[in-house]
Subunit: 110 residues, 4 copies
């Protein structure tokens, strides 16, 4: 049964993958590494990114045109989060998940 | 302990109240009334509104400046949802929750 | 980076897949089909299943032993939802997603 | 419009209040205080508590009998989280929110 477009389904997968990666990385890698990994601004950004990715996936699955504006916000947060993870280092999986998600969310927001 | 501003806390309450009202109204009133209350476009809009309100509350509680853009999207969805509930009728509680949420989210997005 | 066990990661994927399938199916197939597909008890069960699957995935990703009890509840809800979808018919994708999720959640709750 | 019982509505409020308090406290107080406040086990417990409280509220609002088992799990997590916050100290608001939520969730699970 085809319920949402293949392009949107792929964006949902990237959002849920970014959500998973941000939660796992913050709750395992960051809390265990400590130091700059638990700096309030960095940790809150990762948590915000997880929350918005999960919501963007939900709204695409529900299927209203409001996903466009939400995907634009999601792309911005993912870009910021990916940059911050790269700056801090040792979080390549998260950097890549954020970039992939930002890219497809950007294209869904057009 | 003061962790977020009183203005933001009040917006969080309005978002969670709108979330609660949209879920309860759709899952009880709308499913039981049937007809235009379960028209796909209307029901999806209420579900989208609930989801975005919950995410906006979460991001304000987490505390990053990204709440601004998310609150702007939330205000738009709440306005649409409130108008649609008014058009369909017999959902005054939801109309009011959406308007209150739209108004404070609009002011948080500035 | 290995943060959660392969078995748990596989359960997370099944939970998120069941979440996706329940939301998409209820918001597209059920709302468009109408009739018994929007019967309050059926629709609420699908919505409950989606919500619990998403929470079970989150708690496994966060990584506390409380996932065990939550996975037990998730398995029960998925079994009920899968049976109800089978009884109503024409929702084979959802039946299968619920069963796969119930099975792995059951094994994670031991 | 009466959609869920007054007792259940009160439990929903306690769950959402506990959710809010756990997120705010972990993301502001704990990240800023550091040390034992960001010990992985403590921080993950607070995050788990927030997630389960939010899901329990959602399932009560949706309105299926599955809320009973979920409220039982929620009560257990809230008790653990309240005790851990008390042990660490300086989180009285969170201790009280967890206890209130545990108590009403316990009574909803009977």
């Amino acid at each position: 049964m085809q319920m949402i477009s293949a392009e949107m389904q792929s964006c949902v997968e990237n959002c849920l993958n970014c959500y998973e990666t941000c939660i796992k990385t913050s709750m395992h890698h960051c809390l265990e590494a400590g130091g700059k990994h638990v700096a309030p601004q960095h940790f809150r950004l990762m948590s915000t990114c997880a929350e918005i990715c999960r919501a963007a996936a939900a709204v695409m699955l529900i299927g209203t045109s409001h996903h466009r504006n939400l995907c634009r916000v999601c792309a911005e947060v993912c870009e910021d989060c990916g940059q911050d993870c790269e700056r801090i280092g040792d979080m390549q999986e998260c950097v890549e998940a954020c970039r992939r998600c930002a890219e497809t969310c950007r294209s869904m927001s057009a």
